[in-house]
Symmetry: C2
Subunit: 213 residues, 2 copies
Amino acid sequence: MKLYNYFRSSASYRVRIALQLKGLPYDYLPVHIAKGDHRKDDYAAVSANMLVPMLETDEGERLSQSMAIIEYLDEKHPTPALLPADAVGRARVRALAQSIACEIHPLNNLRVLKYLVRELKIDEEAKNTWYQHWVREGLEAFERQLSQLPPSTYCYGDTPTLADCCLVPQIFNGRRFKVNFDGLPRTMAAFEACMALEAFQKAQPSACPDNEP
Amino acid sequence: MKLYNYFRSSASYRVRIALQLKGLPYDYLPVHIAKGDHRKDDYAAVSANMLVPMLETDEGERLSQSMAIIEYLDEKHPTPALLPADAVGRARVRALAQSIACEIHPLNNLRVLKYLVRELKIDEEAKNTWYQHWVREGLEAFERQLSQLPPSTYCYGDTPTLADCCLVPQIFNGRRFKVNFDGLPRTMAAFEACMALEAFQKAQPSACPDNEP
């Protein structure tokens, strides 16, 4: 498999974690988002939405959207499972993942921050406040959801799931923007539990071939 | 089942479509988002993330996040299926759905528009430009994805899927903000095909008990 990727892309990191958890080898094809390489002709020729991550399967299928890719990997390579066996459990894990992927991350990705600065002319401080606002508000909602679930090592249960694949990159991004993580005990405990695992470490931005220190 | 809902909420409309397509009866419990009812104590007591839609199952499970709810409904009530039978097909449909639910809709929901106006002090025209920009850019990416798929009546294949459940409410929202839909032939053909179906009509905002003309 080939993974079109950018070390700092939160959505890319989600897929790298899933590939590591499942022990699946892949070729890492860097696409430099900050330099706009995803909008150039050669990437547009292979990627209809011009976003990373994109997974190209051994059969040549090009798949986009991180959560869709992870569900695909989970269906084709079921062990270890990244979704629970029961329908309610799957609904809970998907909802946790979507709380990050639909409520937090979209507001803070690079193209949105660029629009705020270039089109709406907001300054650096207002940009950082915007960023922190949505991460903090979103993680408080995430924490409330976790607090209604039985005690667990990770976000849901005692093995990592799709929810953890989404949470960890969001915390990494939040740290870059100095988000306050106080008062989020279940969320941060799940994050720490994940980071104790080799799969999450091997997938992190600083371990990527295109990492810029 | 009970569905906590708001007639104008795009994410709520997605779930209403799925329930109609599957012919599942439900109690409609209105939550007036524009008046802030989702942030009041009585709704916070039942909804951890204080968002709509929320589905309460007959077993008392409270499920959030529209795509997670629809997948749950599809697992519990498999006919008619809202996801293809093969893994690549499912990945494509989920990616199309997520192209809307993760790339377009989050930038334009009410709390974001309120932040732009109240905190960033942008005027009505700049707000409308913001709205139109993300819908248009997102739908162009959506159209490029559709254009690489075999001809189909709906977004993917000849029966409605999760992708259509997400597309139709996005077009409704875009119309309210006078988005230009020119040059999106596959996208708009899928929308029109959906709107010819009773399920999509019965689920639309104007058919909701809390509709405000």
